[in-house]
Amino acid sequence: MNIPMYDAVIIGSGAGGASVAYTLTKAGFHVALLEKGDFLKRSDFSKDELAYCRRNIITPDLFNEYHIIAQEKNAHWVETPTYESGWSFWNGNIVGGSSNLMSGMFHRMHPDDFHLLQKYGPIEGANIVDWPITYEVLEPYYTKVESLIGVSGKFIPHPFEPPRSHPDYPFPPTKENGIVTLFDKSCRSLKMTPLVTPRAILSQDTSDRNACYYSNYCGSYGCSSGAKGSAREALIVPALSTGKLTLLSHTHVTQLFSSTKERIETAQCINTVTKKRFSISGRIFIVAAQAHESVRLLFNSASRFHPDGLGNTHGQLGKNLIFSGGGAGEGVLHTRTLQDISPQILMQPGYFFNRSLLDWYYVDEWWDGYFKGGLIEFMFSHANIISQALRHTYHDGRLQWGEALATRLQKTFTQQRAIRFEVFNDWLPTDKCFIQTAPNHKDIYGMPVGKLHIWGHSHDMKVGNYLAQKATQILEAMGAEYIYSDISATPAPNLIAGGCRFGNDPRTSVLDPNCRVHDIENLYVTDASFMPTGGSVPYTWTIYANALRVADKIVAHLHDL
């Protein structure tokens, strides 16, 4: 049988995979991009809460494809399949991956995040290491992302803003709800510095993408204007126009295969619609299936040359899984007690809140101590109508219905608006947080599913609570009621990294500094699994930047072959 041969075969079309597809095709190479999900176009994306937020339509049915989640309870690890809990670790399985659905809050990591160990020293029970590259190496790629993906923002000098090679963002900030007047005033009264949140969202038209039309439904939804900087819009569509990209949607990769120790030869695929199995060969392979699924694929590709999985010669594969530490909180602004802005402004849908705080990214205070803090992001609570209504169906522990429920919903929806904050701090890498496969649990394709051992270090909780307290002060100053926060070691599954650490030493890392698997010369990993520590910001800007950096190395590699 004739197996098609490409210069590069990429598994996963999200932020990590598409960045490589873009760079390689622009450099003239033939690339196969394999994506297990469907290819939804701009025109397919609507604001359908049922389809996008309440059912598994763009993620697999958990009965067919699931994860095992192991969590420590009373000194025992309790394992729960996600089909049982409903806690899905699929984040968006369509061309462009979960980047289609992101809210687009974008932050660079800080230069000190690259050498956390050097700056703060070890923390007991945590495997903190310095990165094998510095901020200066990544900076040109962070800058490239600003124009290529499209990042809007306004640079406000702040001691903890990472240095920039360009004075400001290529696009002005997205439009803001007038609530920022109240927010900024409240921050200043507390001697805090409000910053404009950079967003991977176009505030102005470009030649092939339209500016944001402020749909009010951004996170968890695909964008029908092309404004959101998804991998599909910003990278895959332009890569397709080179004529060098073969995009295979509905193509699930089950294994990477080789007849030698040093090289991968084929990707074993299955068409998820026809269930036909086939192989694709390439000179170079790039895995970017999102951190936990990339690790699973490397484990499931074990062979006589790599009996414990690819990249696992030194038992490092799957170790040091990280999420984003922190949590979220909320307060409610009531039109009745509103200060400084009118109820009409508060209730106006569409425009963003767009404010974040970096004041405690690093904490060095006589009273509080010296430690790495994090970022606080402010936003309106998600506009989803069904899920908002469902939050108000109980009163005093009993389900409400009839007139009482209708009146309550009407009051809640028309007279108040919830302000949410999200805290991002480091999820320290530890020996207790890692990924394996579960040999007794197979997916619909007959492959062992991923088992995620999830464990958060108590230090993360301390830092998260510290930041949440600061956020709470602001909500109080704004006049919010019913304020609460929830900092926990139960992570959001959409920010996931680690498991294939990069580093100089093959005994302690899976990938080399260029994200190539140490002992396999033509295998790279370009999603967030390379990250030894996560910084205290959402990951996607860093995923894009690093994948673009690695893509340049792959271009050089292909030229050398």
Binding site: S46, K47, R55, Y213, L390
Partner: protein, 166 residues
């Protein structure tokens, strides 16, 4: 206890009758026997003359039926919806739908005292609010009356096909 354990264990406890067979045809039959009871519960939850459209007006039961039998819907929850309705139906000897509003309130509040009853009512509430507040294409919100009552808009573009693919 995890959701699925609860749903499945429920079938062997004495409070609720056994799970209807997971075969769609027999589930359809089982559903048809309790359709009236479920709709009566929805009508009690969303009566006429409140600020929201009533269950009767927008025919929430049609949405519920279509939803739970859609392939994207969790098959165990589908069975649970039917099973919980059977329990209520049997307890009230098939008369729930003809009770007065006061009697219905009494019965449902009593049903709510058991954990399974509470979970079942909560599930009916979820399915009813999904009906009332989902996009017009799903059939129960054609004039967006519920959205207007809450002064909300579902966002543009509105879906033109159910569950993306129609």
């Amino acid at each position: 206890m995890h959701r699925r354990h609860f749903l499945i264990l429920g079938s062997v406890s004495t409070l609720l009758p056994a799970l209807p067979s997971s075969h769609p045809a027999s589930q359809k039959l089982a559903f048809s026997r309790v359709r009236e009871t479920i709709f009566a519960v929805q009508k009690h939850m969303f009566p006429p003359h409140t600020s929201l459209p009533s269950a009767q007006e927008v025919n929430t039961i049609a949405f519920l039926e279509e939803t739970i039998f859609h392939p994207s819907y969790d098959k165990d929850i589908r069975a649970f919806v039917i099973r919980g309705a059977h329990a209520l139906h049997q307890k009230e000897k098939g008369r729930f739908h003809i009770y007065t509003s006061e009697k219905k309130e009494q019965v449902l509040r009593r049903y709510e005292e058991s954990e399974k009853g509470r979970m079942w009512l909560s599930r009916i509430m979820i399915l009813s609010l999904e009906a009332l507040l989902s996009a017009p294409v799903y059939g129960c919100n054609p004039a967006k009356a519920a959205w207007h009552a809450l002064q909300r808009n579902g966002g543009m573009p509105e879906p033109t096909k159910k569950y993306i693919y129609g």
